[in-house]
Symmetry: C2
Subunit: 1004 residues, 2 copies
């Protein structure tokens, strides 16, 4: 059995033989090996750097008083940095696991997207967490930025979680049972220390002193930075970070304070990076050109799958005509699940388009993909491009021919187009006479074209976030490691991102990713299938669904439909094999949402439910690989879930020791925003704002009482451990704990509903109490954050105000609640601890109206219709929505143009007039009297009238208006008469006020 | 070549295979691996613990801006703890060096006394620094106390200095040139960081902020300790310690502040130790009985030196009579040089005494010793104890015999003494008649007696500081590892400290300490000589002296006589081989005292000088071992000295950039004592006190000017780097820098002389200026520290006030300066920033008088004489000394008793009288008139009179006094007459006032 220390010794030795420098843990309380100068500094700049070291890492917040099988405030990392990318970093990593006796064929080893970001360090990267039978054992990242600087030479960061690996190797279910050496367990060495640290960090660390420490550390860091002292500055930045972590663990950091802390730390980190780079630059980057790692070249010459017949290996050997299949495989390191789907969609569109442009006839286009490959398979591709006839316009005829003879211009043109002068013809183009040439373009061989165009196919795939990994600077979702481009049996030679195409693909990871030489394009799918790889994502989904349902049925359970999860899971494996795992029924006492949240979010397991949708103590995991050693893989996954649930149960137990209301006073410690006070302050505001809003919305008195209580409890769950740990459970836990605390059901429900809709497409609050609370919460945030100048700017919206505003709009519209957003903001503003300026509240209102505008436009309403209504009714989203719908209906009517035209005449002629008194007695002409009569005949049109009432009135006026303008000269000479006429038209022009500004309509 | 990282990997592996737990560096800036909980905590309590780990160790003060070949503020330790002592820890250590390719036979590997103490941790231990060819590469300690607690199970601590070992192995002369791995040097990785840290630590660390940090850390540590949280508390204690180190490096910690800081840290450390022990006790010391290290039993069965003939192996085989040599060898781990000398002296006395007591006749007793063995060799020891006749007193004769017949009492007595009743006799004893028995005690075999008594020989050797190392709890200078006890060829079987005696001794370290079975006692010396071991310390001294002188002569140099150094060096080796090394002449520009101080203090080298006593660029080192690989050993020693001198040169260069006077303002940063202010404040006081004192001592005006300047500069060198580094150079550097700064020579000399005498037997200040300054400095310290209550208590004298007071006395006496110490203290007190109480100054005066008392008693003066004089003249040491001498002379006179007796009669009869007026006219008797006349005949005796004047006067009065008492009845009835008589006697009784209180004389 490998002891814990033996694991360390072996990893050190393994990486040492790889050529890495072996370094030591840093002399500070770091949160991760990343903070060690061997990473945070050395990844900067162009110099090579390969290093491995142990790093005991302290994350106070993860402490569980030793009560959790693998969650501790201190865990031990083994950190490896490879810079530059050696080309095969994953393989080297997997070999390091083999040095520990972890054979890939006996386990489910997966690379699951997990990007990494440290705002405090101004550092981020893309990569994975590596799963060993469901357990995260390693974090694997390609750094993209550090200290706020883009990294021209990205580094590979491999961070082993040593305890978890050891638990695996020693087959124990708790970290405390690990053997450290032959004589001591991990628990014997560290458990007491762990408990003591937890007591200190959660209960005793003095908040005031830690804040002072943070400031002193920051000041010393600044001193160092000003003098260009790099590592001493780093020490203090790390100390700042640890002091911040303690404050956070003590619950003393609110949302905004957090942002402020991060800003301060990031500022230091940026200066740090600059200072380090300056030092290295002054020394002329002395390590440039030095390369540390031992080379282990990939042998393209050892195909595992031998060709059966002699190959037409090069494109020149292809026949000149006919058709053949095309295979283009982009071999990558594991793509994120969502990226895979995105790439398949884009490739599908792009390949068809590209082939059309290239005039290459073809049969069906198949787009396949697994986490490690994106594949285009085109059946029956024409080996030669279709010929093309084209007419090219030359010089004007009069220039080209003098006296019927071709001039020099004509001759030049003919030559340039490769046609004989005799074949030039004169045609009329755009109303002039021109010489034209009919050009025949002969098709080129498909292989030639593809060699040129295939790189574009890769380049054309765009990802929400892509990365660079080597010196080519090419960006892609994840590194490209091989390319297969076969037309029939011939390799189409091309290069991308430093990778040369060939005929060698790779088998799946469990088989050791063997090189597989393909004899031809049509060999691809079946060859990979022989390794268990299902390249078609749809097929994988079907297989997984079938396997999962079969397994669930074996315990009389079902899998709730969850297409997103299914797609994600299918995108995480090449060789899918589902397995049924179980967990202790004891955990079923936890809220089902929490159980499912944990299972899906962290593990991508399918929950298993009974006929009533109640959870059963099972789960379905899908492994990448066959059925070999499946029991071990199951055990592993069960152990992981057990630990996760132990964690959740721990929090749940802690939280339940008090009633939900007991948490309210603790909100004092959670800052909402520095100037806007704590979450408790926000609660106090909601306690006033919500009932006011409830009254406005017409809630019944009893509901108002419930609303008051809900407002009081609204944020309480933020102080519970469960929510502190899994923010996504805010509201969910509020409802749960409210129920457990004996609160009225309506209150409990409102606590969840206040956060609805959580995203576009989410459900809305249904209850009146929940609805009112949801609105109050958002109005408070909007008024408050605008008041203190924290409105969203550009793409930055740290407080999610866009979503808040959209939710206000959506709730009001969907629930058909007529409500003045402006008034609501005023009231919210009145309750704030700061006095908001009128402009700030106005800006907030405009911002909400902006979301309404977007929503209406997305519904397909025309710009002018939306603008016309919002100008008058933007303050009341529901009313605006209804009005837009009606106005749009009117615009669609045949008589709309007439209506608008006639109304417009009334407006235009009076536009420059002051507001005139109207004396109907002064009217003399019948036409004008008729118009007056018709105007009077309308019911009164007020700002409260509907669009229909308005436009019915106007449409009724149209004949009279037409007659008026035909028969009456408005600008009469007698002033009284002129005024009466203008005043009458003014009255008509004014009709839409408060309803819709028709002057904004197209055609006005 | 072993890279730096390979050395670490090999040490980890070596200790792992030994059975130690492999641990990681601690996550704080520790000063040493000792601070790691794996040491500072685990050495407490009874549980076994064996561990090895790397520890990057930060000591800001050691920083040299990367300018020194092996002195850095950060160096890398490899720390090993073995608990309990495995019995052969040194051997295991030497094997670990072999795992690194360091073969003991090719080097000079030495264990040189170096005890260790961390006042901050309340921790100390005894042990060695291990020298590899003169370079300290390891610190090797047996911990005796930690957290203020005695360690019942002492731990062995082995601390490798990895950089120094690596420099050796890679044969580079600067740490920065080390290869860390195949691609990077140590300097490439760490030099820039080192420079940056130095800049921060020496120049930029903010003093105020660091002080606040210390306080915050301390407060948090206290919080943790109150809650019994051990490791979190330790973190804060370490942080306190690092903050203190920074303050110290910034020159912000004075002598007293340092003591206060240490007190605070020690208080925390004690609580920490108690808290840890409580935790372990609560858990019932779960590791008790667990033993980690792999056993490597010492094979007594493999003697290297085979016996030549059949041995009389056991004592019972010895003949009954005759004589034979006795060999008793105590095999130890390397004794401190001074302990070795002490032990030899004690053994010499003790063995002779013991043999006499045992009635064992013997020839010459040889006492030999090397660092690893203490040997008693007795020639011609009688194999049998001499018989003894003894008279034993029994019951009184009248009880023993009734009617001439022996009673039961007599019979019982006879039986108890083993004699026949008939043989009892009656004798007069102490004036009574008793029965006595003449008992014949037969001698026992010497072997039997020795088996009983040899342990006592070991036990009887006392050391100033001894240690415990194993579970027997036996204390000795260093661990006892083997015992040889041979009488002739027979082993005398005994056990001490768990070691069983035998016939197997061990060869010297360079030969691998082979087991050597001795055929007999007389075999010992020659056998060891055959291995090069010279067991006779005197012989070694002679050999070394001869070798050294010969080598010095080879470069036309000499070795200044230095018996202490010679003795020490001889005590550090068993197999002495001197070698001549050289250093760069460039270093000769450094002050010679500094060069010699460095050489002797750190390296125990002999300096080489020319005929005029000027240093030559050579040194003599003495290696333990033969001439093999001597060049390598020389190179090593040269490299060490080079580094030491580079260090000194660095400081010297730094210091010389300014004049000495420039350092005066910096004294502001050095605290003398919290309440007494900085060293600058002290300087200001000396600037006032010294001239006042100079005036009192009668200095010439010009000297007073020089004195003023000297006082101004007196402490300036304390702020220079050289003195900060080597405190022993205070004054020396002051003189040096004063000369370089162009100060008058008298001033320069005074700067050194102020510290004289540095110890008992040291030279005194010679110049008037130096003398006055030396006195002023001490008076200021004494007045000040007594004023703030910091007088010495018990054995604690942290400020060295006993030495200061003794110096005052010695200077005044030797320079024959009459001076009132009380007045001096008054003046010093007047200048203090605090107002001293009268009692405090009185106490200081008494304290100085106490030293005077001790000094006089040590000169052999009788107690009464000293007391009599000091009572009257203790305030003026010189006067007191002179008076004591004279009084002692008088006491020796024949007429002293008469003199004293007669004077005493005068005193006694008037003792209870008030002070009476004297009317000579009232006297009537001739005897009394004669006495009066004789009294008048004396010259006036005043408090300023000498002892001789006084006693001459009294002796002249004696006849008159005698006559007076014979003829006169003092207590006459008439009051006037009685008063006149008493008054006259009072006048005589008062004569010695201010000179000597004769009433304290013996016989008074």
């Amino acid at each position: 059995m490998l002891t814990f220390q033996e694991i360390i010794l072996r990893l050190q030795r393994y990486w040492e033989t790889q050529g890495a420098l072996i370094w030591q843990p840093w002399s500070e309380k770091v949160g991760a090996g990343t903070n060690n100068p061997a990473t945070v500094l050395r990844v900067l700049g162009p110099e090579p750097w390969n290093v491995g070291y142990v790093e005991p890492s302290f994350r106070p917040d993860d402490g569980r008083y030793g009560d959790n099988p693998n969650r501790m405030q201190m865990h031990t990392q083994f950190q490896v940095i490879l810079k530059p990318d050696p080309g095969d970093p994953q393989e080297r990593y997997l070999q390091s696991l083999e040095a520990l006796g972890i054979r890939r064929e006996e386990h489910d080893i997966r690379f699951v997207e997990d990007n990494w970001e440290s705002p405090a360090l101004g550092m981020w990267g893309l990569g994975w967490e590596v799963w060993l039978d469901g357990q995260e054992i390693t974090q694997y990242t390609y750094f993209q930025q550090a200290g706020g600087k883009n990294l021209d030479v990205p580094s590979v960061e491999i961070t082993y979680g040593l305890e978890r690996i050891a638990m695996y190797l020693q087959r124990v279910s708790s970290v405390w049972e690990l053997q450290w050496d032959a004589h001591h367990t991990y628990g014997e060495i560290l458990l007491r220390q762990e408990i003591d640290y937890c007591r200190y960090e959660f209960e005793l660390a003095d908040i005031d002193r830690q804040q002072r420490l943070f400031e002193l550390f920051e000041a010393e860091a600044q001193v160092c930075l000003e003098a260009g002292l790099v590592v001493p500055a780093l020490d203090y930045i790390i100390r700042c970070s640890h002091a911040f972590n303690l404050l956070d663990t003590r619950g003393a950091v609110g949302v905004t304070e957090r942002a402020v802390f991060f800003r301060r730390m990031r500022a230091l980190s940026r200066q740090l990076a600059a200072a380090y780079l300056q030092q290295r630059e002054e020394e002329d980057f002395p390590w440039l050109g030095r390369r540390g790692l031992v080379e282990t070249p990939r042998t393209e010459g050892t195909p595992m799958h031998l060709p059966l017949r002699e190959l037409r290996a090069t494109a020149s050997a292809l026949p000149e005509a006919g058709r053949a299949p095309l295979l283009f495989e982009i071999g990558v390191e594991e793509l994120p699940a969502s990226h895979l789907s995105l790439a398949l969609t884009q490739l599908r569109e792009q390949v068809s388009l590209s082939l059309r442009e290239l005039r290459l006839d073809h049969g069906p286009v198949q787009i396949w993909g697994t986490p490690r490959r994106l594949t285009v398979y085109v059946e029956k591709l024409a080996l030669r491009q279709a010929d093309e006839e084209r007419v090219v316009k030359g010089p004007p005829a009069r220039v080209a021919f003098k006296d019927g003879e071709p001039t020099r211009a004509a001759q030049g043109f003919a030559r340039s187009q490769g046609v004989a002068v005799e074949n030039l013809r004169v045609e009329e183009v755009d109303g002039g006479e021109y010489v034209v040439a009919k050009v025949h373009q002969e098709g080129r061989p498909a292989a030639e074209l593809l060699a040129e165009y295939l790189p574009g196919w890769i380049e054309g795939v765009r990802f929400p976030r892509s990365m660079r990994w080597n010196e080519t600077g090419v960006a892609f979702s994840r590194p490209i490691r091989w390319l297969v481009a076969l037309l029939d049996e011939a390799v189409i030679s091309m290069t991308y991102a430093g990778v040369q195409s060939g005929r060698v693909t790779r088998g799946p990871r469990p088989a050791g990713s063997p090189d597989i030489a393909l004899s031809g394009a049509d060999d691809y799918k079946s060859t990979l299938e022989s390794y268990g790889v299902l390249v078609d994502a749809q097929v994988r989904q079907e297989v997984i669904r079938f396997q999962a349902e079969t397994l669930a049925a074996s315990v009389a359970g079902q899998i709730p439909a969850d297409p997103e999860l299914l797609e994600e899971v299918a995108n995480l494996v090449e060789v899918p094999t589902a397995l049924l795992g179980s967990f202790s029924e004891a955990y079923l006492e936890l809220p089902q949402e929490a159980l499912i949240a944990v299972m899906k979010k962290h593990q991508r397991y399918f929950p298993v439910v009974d006929g009533e949708g109640r959870m059963l103590p099972y789960f379905i995991a899908v492994r990448n690989g066959g059925r070999e050693h499946l029991d071990r893989v199951r055990e592993g996954n069960e152990a992981v879930l057990r630990a996760r649930y132990a964690d959740a149960a721990y929090f749940y137990r802690q939280d339940r020791q008090r009633s939900l209301a007991d948490f309210v006073p603790e909100l004092r410690k959670l800052t909402f925003q520095e100037e806007l006070g704590s979450m408790l302050d926000k609660t106090r505001r909601l306690e006033a704002l919500a009932p006011w809003l409830g009254l406005k919305l017409g809630l019944a008195p009893l509901d108002l009482d419930l609303l008051r209580r809900a407002a009081h409890l609204s944020k309480a769950d933020l102080a519970t451990e469960m929510v502190v740990e899994m923010t996504s459970l805010q509201g969910v836990m509020g409802r749960e704990y409210a129920r457990l605390s004996g609160e009225p059901e309506a209150v409990a429900v409102a606590l969840l509903e206040q956060y609805l809709p959580r995203s576009a497409g989410d459900t809305l609050p249904a209850s009146p109490v929940g609805t009112a609370l949801a609105l109050a919460d958002r109005l408070d945030s909007l008024a408050g954050l605008f008041a203190v100048g924290l409105q969203p700017t550009g793409s930055s919206d740290p407080y999610g105000l866009r979503r808040a505003a959209a939710a206000v709009v959506q709730i009001l519209v969907e629930h058909e609640l007529s409500f003045s957003v402006g008034e609501g903001l005023q009231e919210a503003g009145r309750l704030l601890p700061v006095s908001p300026s009128a402009e700030a509240l106005r800006a907030a209102e405009d911002f909400i109206q902006g979301r309404l505008h977007v929503a209406l436009r997305e519904e397909g309403f025309a710009h002018d219709v939306v603008e016309a209504v919002l100008t008058e009714r933007g303050d009341d989203p529901y009313l605006a929505q209804r009005s837009v719908e009606r106005l749009a209906a009117w615009v669609a009517r045949e008589d709309w143009a007439t209506l608008l035209d006639n109304y417009a005449r009334c407006v235009r002629i009076t536009r420059d007039q002051p507001r005139l008194d109207f004396d109907p007695e002064a009217l003399v002409e019948p036409a004008e009297q008729a118009l007056h009569a018709q105007w009077l005949a309308q019911g009164p049109i007020t700002p409260e009238s509907s669009v229909d009432e308005l436009l019915e009135a106007i449409v009724a006026l149209v004949p009279a208006i037409q007659r008026f303008f035909e028969e009456v000269l408005v600008m009469a000479e007698e002033p009284e008469l002129r005024q009466a006429r203008l005043a009458l038209l003014q009255r008509i022009a004014w009709l839409p006020q408060g309803i819709a500004d028709l002057s904004q309509m197209e055609g006005f």
